[in-house]
C-alpha cells in the first residue's frame, strides 16, 4: 500500500519538479536589459503587450498582437507610409492595366531568411493559398488569379473591379511566403507557424505561448532604410493593466503598447518614461437596434444623441484619454471627412424630441456591452437617460456572446468600437450596409438602399473625387439619421523608456519596431 502511495506521490512530485526545472531552465538572457542601453553592445528591446499572439502564420490570424510578430518576419507587396500613401515594399512598382488587371514588378535581390531569392512564384503561391484561408481569404477575394511573367514580374487578375486591392495587400494577412519552404514544411507534416520564415527585418527566434515571443535582427534585410536598428525584440504578454505599467516603471519593459488609460498620467509624470500620443482611427459608439420600436423613429435616436453626455462617458471609460467624437470613422482614417451633423448635450432638446416622438414618459430597454470599459460608458448613459425617464438595463457579456446576441438582433442597443484599417470600404461596408445587418457588423440594423449603393460605388469607382463625394454623403446621411451616438475617439498611447528612440506609431495599430534603439 505504501508502495502505491509513494509511486503516485513521487509521480506527481516529479512532474511538478520537472516542470519547475523546465521553467527555471529557460531563464536565459533574462538579465540582459535593453533599458540600460549598453553602448555598442547588442540591444534587446522588451515590448509589453496585453494579449498573446494567436498564430505566427499570417494566413492563420487576423489580430493585432499576431501581426506585431508576422509583420516583422514577413514582408508584403506594398506598405502604408505615414502620409497614408501606399508605396512598394517587395514590389518595385505596379500599374493598373485595366479595372481588373494589375501588373507588378518585384524588387531585385530580395532574399528570404534562408538565403533563397524571392521570385514571382512565391507571390503567386502566397496569394493563391491565402484565398483558401478562412481568416484572411476574404481580403483577396477580388483576386481571380496571379499570372507569373518571370522571376520579378507578375500580373494580378481580378474578378471584379475593386479599390481595395492595394490596401488589402498591405494587410498582414497578405504576407509573402517562400513557396519552397512552405511546401517542404507541409510535406514534413509541419505547420507554417512551426517555422515562420519570410523576407522581413526580423527572424523568428522563439515563442512561449502565453508569455512572450522573440524576434532577432535579420542582417540581410533588403531595405537598408528600414533595417532593424536593434538586435532583438522581445514581446512580453502582460494581461493585467496595472502590472503592465509597473513592468515598464521598474525597467522590465522598454516599450509599452497597450497603455492602461488610468496610468497615462503616472507615465507622463515620470521623468524616466515618456508617453507618445497619436491620433488613432478608433471610434467608440452607442447604437440602437433600428429593427425595434421605438428606435426606428429618427426623433427618438436624435433625442438619445442629445441626451448622452459624451464627455462623462469619455472620462468614466478611458479616464479622458481621448476626445468626444461626432463622426462615424476615426479621424486618422482614410475616408474620414468632417461633414457630420453634430448633436450637442442638451437634455431639454432631448425631452422635446421625445415628446414629439410620443415617448415623453420614457421606456425601458437593454444595452449589451462586451467589456468593462464599455460597461462604464453604459453606466454613464444609463444615468443620463434616467433623467428622461428612460430605463436602460446594462448587460455585460463576453465578446463571443455579444457577437452572437447582437448578430441575432436580441439587443435593443449596444456599445461597440471600431478601428478602421487602411481601406475605408472595410469600415463603411460592414457597419452601415443592409447586407451586413446583424452578424456582418451592422449592429444598428440600419437599412438604407441609398447608402448601400453609395458604398458599392465608392468601392469600385476609380474616380477619387467621386469616392470622396460618396463617403461625404454617407456620413452626412448617417449623422442626420442619428444612426449612432458616436461617443469618443481614444487617443493612441505608447509609453516608453524616455531614452528609447525610434518610436513610430501607426494610427491603424500597425506599428513598426525596427527603428527602436537607445
Amino acid at each position: 500500500m505504501r508502495k502505491v502511495l509513494c509511486t503516485i506521490l513521487a509521480g506527481v512530485m516529479t512532474a511538478s519538479l520537472l516542470a519547475g526545472c523546465g521553467g527555471g531552465g529557460s531563464d536565459q538572457g533574462n538579465s540582459t536589459k535593453g533599458s540600460s542601453g549598453e553602448a555598442g553592445g547588442s540591444q534587446a528591446i522588451n515590448i509589453g503587450i496585453n494579449t498573446d499572439v494567436s498564430s505566427l502564420d499570417p494566413h492563420n490570424h487576423n489580430d493585432t498582437a499576431s501581426s506585431y510578430a508576422t509583420r516583422h518576419i514577413y514582408s508584403n507587396l506594398v506598405r502604408l507610409t505615414d502620409n497614408n500613401e501606399f508605396v512598394g515594399d517587395l514590389a518595385e512598382k505596379w500599374e493598373f492595366v485595366d479595372d481588373m488587371t494589375v501588373e507588378f514588378t518585384l524588387k531585385e535581390g530580395v532574399k528570404f531568411h534562408d538565403g533563397t531569392a524571392l521570385t514571382a512564384e512565391d507571390v503567386k503561391y502566397s496569394l493563391e493559398s491565402q484565398k483558401e484561408s478562412p481568416k484572411v481569404g476574404h481580403l483577396v477575394s477580388m483576386i481571380e488569379s496571379v499570372e507569373v511573367k518571370d522571376d520579378t514580374h507578375f500580373i494580378i487578375h481580378m474578378n471584379t473591379p475593386s479599390n481595395a486591392l492595394i490596401s488589402s495587400l498591405n494587410h498582414s494577412g497578405c504576407a509573402i511566403y517562400s513557396k519552397a519552404h512552405v511546401e517542404k514544411l507541409l510535406a514534413d507534416g509541419k505547420k507554417i507557424e512551426d517555422e515562420p520564415m519570410g523576407t522581413g527585418p526580423y527572424k523568428f527566434e522563439n515563442w512561449t505561448p502565453g508569455a512572450s515571443f522573440t524576434l532577432v535582427k535579420n542582417p540581410d534585410y533588403f531595405d537598408p532604410e528600414r533595417a532593424a536598428q536593434n538586435d532583438k525584440l522581445t514581446f512580453k504578454v502582460i494581461p493585467e493593466d496595472s502590472a503592465r505599467t509597473i513592468a515598464l516603471e521598474n525597467g522590465e519593459l522598454d516599450l509599452l503598447i497597450d497603455v492602461p488609460f488610468t496610468d497615462a498620467g503616472k507615465i507622463r509624470d515620470n521623468d524616466k518614461l515618456a508617453l507618445d500620443e497619436y491620433t488613432s482611427t478608433h471610434v467608440e459608439y452607442f447604437t440602437v437596434n433600428q429593427s425595434k420600436a421605438p428606435f426606428d423613429n429618427v426623433k427618438v435616436r436624435q433625442a438619445l444623441s442629445h441626451a448622452i453626455n459624451k464627455g462623462d462617458a469619455l472620462i468614466a471609460s478611458i479616464n479622458g484619454e481621448g476626445k468626444v467624437f461626432d463622426n462615424y470613422i476615426g479621424e486618422a482614417a482614410i475616408g474620414y471627412y468632417d461633414v457630420v451633423t453634430k448633436y450637442d448635450y442638451d437634455v431639454e432638446k432631448a425631452k422635446a424630441l421625445l415628446e414629439e416622438a410620443g415617448y415623453g414618459d420614457g421606456f425601458t430597454f437593454n444595452c449589451y456591452v462586451s467589456n468593462a470599459k464599455r460597461a462604464n460608458s453604459a453606466t454613464v448613459i444609463q444615468a443620463n437617460l434616467a433623467e428622461l425617464g428612460i430605463t436602460m438595463n446594462i448587460e455585460q457579456m463576453e465578446a463571443s456572446t455579444f457577437y452572437e446576441k447582437t448578430g441575432n438582433s436580441e439587443h435593443d442597443s449596444c456599445i461597440a468600437g471600431w478601428v478602421a484599417n487602411a481601406e475605408p470600404d472595410n469600415t463603411y461596408r460592414p457597419l452601415f450596409t443592409s447586407g451586413n445587418a446583424g452578424a456582418g457588423g451592422n449592429r444598428s440594423f440600419y437599412k438604407n438602399p441609398e447608402i448601400d449603393k453609395l458604398v458599392d460605388d465608392a468601392a469600385t469607382n476609380s474616380d477619387k473625387a467621386a469616392v470622396q463625394k460618396d463617403y461625404e454623403t454617407i456620413l452626412k446621411t448617417l449623422s442626420d439619421e442619428a444612426v449612432w451616438v458616436p461617443l469618443y475617439a481614444q487617443t493612441g498611447l505608447i509609453a516608453r523608456n524616455a531614452d528609447l528612440k525610434g518610436v513610430n506609431p501607426s494610427p491603424i495599430q500597425m506599428h513598426d519596431f525596427y527603428a527602436l534603439h537607445y
Binding site: 505504501r2 503516485i8 476574404h138 502565453g210 509597473i246 522590465e252 463576453e398 456572446t401 456582418g440
Partner: protein, 308 residues
C-alpha cells in the same frame, strides 16, 4: 490496494466522459459567435459563415458532441477553433507551468498552515491563537487578485525584489506562489486547528499523556496523525480551487499557464480548447483525489480496512 487503485483509475474514464458531456452541454448552452470572435470585427459576413462551416459549428450539438467523442476515444483532444493547433499540444505546453504554480502554492500553504494550526490549537484562547486565526482569516478574506496587485506594487514596483510577472526563474515564482498559497492557507490552518482541538480532547490523548508521553510527542505522534484526516480532505479539495484560483493569479502575474488559456477559450467559445483543458484538469484532479483517498488509508487504518 492495488486493485483499488486500478479500479479508481478505470473510474477516470466515466469521469472524463461525464466532464466532457457536462462542459460540452454548458458550452453549447452559451450563446456565442465563435467565428466572429476569431476573425475579428472587420471580417465580412461571408468569411464568418465560411469559418463556421469549416469548424462544423453549423451542425447540431449532438452530432458535434458525437464527433468529439469519437475523436476522444482515439485519444484526440481535437483542434482549437481559434488557433487551429492541436489542443493537446497547446494545453500541455502550458500545463507544467500551472502545475508548478499550484504545486508550490500548495507546498507554501501546507508548510505554513499546518504548524500554525497546531500551535493555535494547542494554545487555544491565547494571544498566539488569536493572532494566527486573524492571520488565517485575513488570508481567506483578502481577494486574491487584490493581494497579487498589492504584492506587485510592494515587492516589484517599490522594492524591486521580484519581477512583476512572467515565469522565468525562481524569483518570478515567489509572488504568485504567495498569492495563490495564502488563499488556501487559511482553510488548511482552520481545519488543522479545529481538527486538532477535537483530537486533543479525545480519550486516547489522555491515555497517551497518562502513559508518560511527552507533550511534543503527544501532539506530533498521537494527535497529529488523527487530526490530519480532515486536513488531508481539505488539501485535496483545495487543490482543485488552487487550480481554479490559478486563473486569477495567472492573469495578475502574466503567468503563461492553462488558467489564462482556459479563460480566453471560454470567452472565445473555443469549445475544443475548453474541453481539452477541463479534461486534463479533471484527470489531474482525480489523481490528486485518488492520492488523498490513498493517504486516508495510510493515515487511518479504519478506512484502509474498507478498501480491501
Amino acid at each position: 490496494m492495488h486493485k483499488y487503485v486500478i479500479k479508481r483509475l478505470i473510474m477516470l474514464i466515466p469521469v472524463v466522459i461525464g466532464v466532457s458531456f457536462l462542459v460540452f452541454f454548458i458550452m453549447s448552452l452559451a450563446p456565442g459567435d465563435t467565428a466572429r470572435t476569431i476573425l475579428g470585427e472587420d471580417a465580412p459576413i461571408e468569411a464568418i459563415e465560411a469559418l463556421n462551416e469549416e469548424l462544423g459549428l453549423n451542425d447540431p450539438v449532438l452530432i458535434r458532441y458525437g464527433r468529439y467523442m469519437v475523436g476522444l476515444a482515439h485519444g484526440d483532444l481535437g483542434t482549437s477553433y481559434k488557433s487551429g493547433r492541436s489542443v493537446f499540444t497547446e494545453v500541455m505546453s502550458r500545463f507544467p507551468d500551472t502545475l508548478k504554480l499550484a504545486f508550490w502554492g500548495m507546498i507554501f500553504a501546507v508548510v505554513l498552515s499546518i504548524p500554525i494550526g497546531i500551535i493555535s490549537a494547542t494554545k487555544q484562547y491565547s494571544l498566539i491563537d488569536s493572532v494566527s486565526m486573524v492571520f488565517a482569516l485575513l488570508g481567506v478574506a483578502t481577494p486574491n487578485f487584490w493581494l497579487g496587485l498589492m504584492l506587485i506594487i510592494g515587492f516589484s514596483l517599490h522594492l524591486r525584489w521580484f519581477p512583476s510577472g512572467g515565469s522565468e526563474g525562481w524569483k518570478a515564482l515567489v509572488l504568485p506562489v504567495i498569492t495563490l498559497g495564502t488563499g488556501c492557507m487559511a482553510n488548511i490552518t482552520r481545519t488543522t486547528r479545529s481538527s486538532m482541538l477535537e483530537v486533543i480532547r479525545q480519550d486516547y490523548i489522555r491515555t497517551a499523556k497518562a502513559k508518560g508521553v511527552g507533550y511534543r510527542s503527544v501532539i506530533y505522534k498521537h494527535a497529529l496523525k488523527n487530526a490530519l484526516i480532515p486536513v488531508v480532505t481539505v488539501i485535496g479539495l483545495q487543490f482543485g480551487s488552487l487550480l481554479g484560483g490559478a486563473v486569477l493569479t495567472e492573469a495578475v502575474f502574466s503567468w503563461p499557464g492553462v488558467g489564462t488559456y482556459l479563460v480566453n477559450s471560454i470567452k472565445a467559445k473555443d469549445t475544443p480548447a475548453v474541453l481539452g483543458c477541463v479534461i486534463i484538469f479533471s484527470i489531474c484532479f482525480s489523481i490528486v483525489n485518488l492520492c488523498v483517498d490513498i493517504l486516508y488509508a495510510y493515515i487511518d487504518p479504519r478506512i484502509k480496512s474498507k478498501y480491501k
